[in-house]
């Protein structure tokens, strides 16, 4: 089962996703990247139905890049999140809705870091921490217990590791490589 998690700090957002692409009982890929870079300061994490995920995420990604080409400046994370949600909502009651669950992590130069939770019913919520998948049932309480708005980067990493340990040990699927991304500098850990 796919898992996404995000934790927002004072000047960063830490996100992680599992690395497995599975098809019924077979794990087809162990190094699958579920993160889509929308711009230098915005990252979209996408899980859900096969085919829908990549198609929807790439559509959003290309449109955000097109905005920058047309207007000369980038969309803010809030604008990108609302644009994404609007697309989900528009297709929700069509013949072919997208079945995708998303986390959007961004850093706005004036408003600071932001983490946006979206699901396949096109809900949108800006949250200090969020998770998707069965792993969320295990880790949201850990985040409730230990999260503080003034977490340092190391403390946030420790909290993330606690969550990942819990999901790995309690999860049926034992192969769980998590791919961390620390948003402020957009480097991979």
């Amino acid at each position: 089962m796919e898992y996404l998690i995000g934790i927002q700090g004072q000047d960063f957002v830490l996100v992680a996703a599992d690395n497995v692409a599975a098809s019924s009982i077979i794990q087809m890929k162990h190094d699958y990247d579920k993160m889509f870079k929308l711009s230098e300061k915005i990252l979209l994490l996408c899980v859900g139905e096969a085919g829908d995920t990549v198609q929807f995420a790439e559509y959003i990604q290309k449109n955000v890049q097109l905005y920058k080409m047309r207007n000369g400046y980038e969309l803010s994370p809030a604008a990108a999140a609302n644009f994404t949600r609007k697309n989900l909502a528009d297709y929700l009651r069509s013949r072919t809705p997208y079945h995708v669950n998303l986390l959007l992590a961004g850093y706005d130069d004036s408003d600071g870091p932001g983490l946006y939770y979206m699901d396949y019913l096109s809900s949108l919520a800006k949250a200090p921490f969020a998770a998707h998948g069965y792993g969320a049932f295990l880790t949201l309480s850990i985040l409730d217990r230990y999260y503080r708005p003034d977490l340092t980067r190391d403390e946030a990493m420790d909290l993330l590791k606690k969550c990942i340990e819990e999901v790995s040990s309690a999860s049926i699927s034992r192969r769980f490589h998590l791919h961390y991304l620390h948003l402020f500098n957009l480097f991979h850990l």
Binding site: A21, S23, I25, I26, M28, K29, Y32, E49, A50, G51, D52, V54, Q55, Y59, Y91, S94, R95, T96, Y98
Partner: protein
Amino acid sequence: MALVEVSGFKPYSELRGQIFPTKQTHLVDRTSHYSFGTKTQEFAVPLGVEPSGFLKSCRNDGGVNIDLNHGTTTLAFKFRHGVIVAVDSRASAGRYLASNDVNKVIEINPYLLGTMSGSAADCQYWERLLAKECRLYRLRNNQRISVAAASKLLSNMMLGYRGMGLSMGSMICGWDKEGPGLYYVDDNGTRLSGRMFSTGCGNSYAYGVVDSGYKEDMTVEEAYELGRRGIAHATHRDAYSGGVVNMYHMQEDGWIKVCKEDVSQLIHRYRKGMF
């Protein structure tokens, strides 16, 4: 022009008026969300026709017993000296064996191969269409299409007909500027790049054998043997796979066909220690 009259050529609009007397002017389907505003669709689907419903009526629960060709084992893996592609050759229609000698590898061009599993008709049609698109790309851009682009074209074709009953699991293998390339594409739009894939109902058996015998620094002969073993053991356990092993080796300057060996003879050779 005189030739037009002599040949009896009818302009398309006249013909269309005869086929669609009710003045239906659009042959193409409504734009689905995957077409994103593009104008052309490859397939004309008359409005109101529901392909998946029709397919359902052809199966057991609809009263008619037409089972589509489904069972297969195909596998492909990358290694130091290229990509090995090995497939079985059985086509089954329910419990009936339609053929034991089907070619499940489509030779798209001398440097691209596609495998087929799922519905035989879907695979053959869409991969031939892909071959056409690859050829057009080569003519328009004066350079070969990359494996990533070819697999993306096929994946987009699949996504355009999502939910309409297509059944195809294919691996696109080739060698381009980035080196050996292997992509898995299937009918629900999944497109994955990887080191090894296996498709069809015998895929789990093939995964077991190839995963345990794989070494990055295999020689070419060892790789051939691993491919043969993967298919042979899968056909041994899976009732819907069998026939012969068709094996191809994708090298830097194109693919070569390695062998076409009967599975029962391979199993006979391997039987020591099997049971």
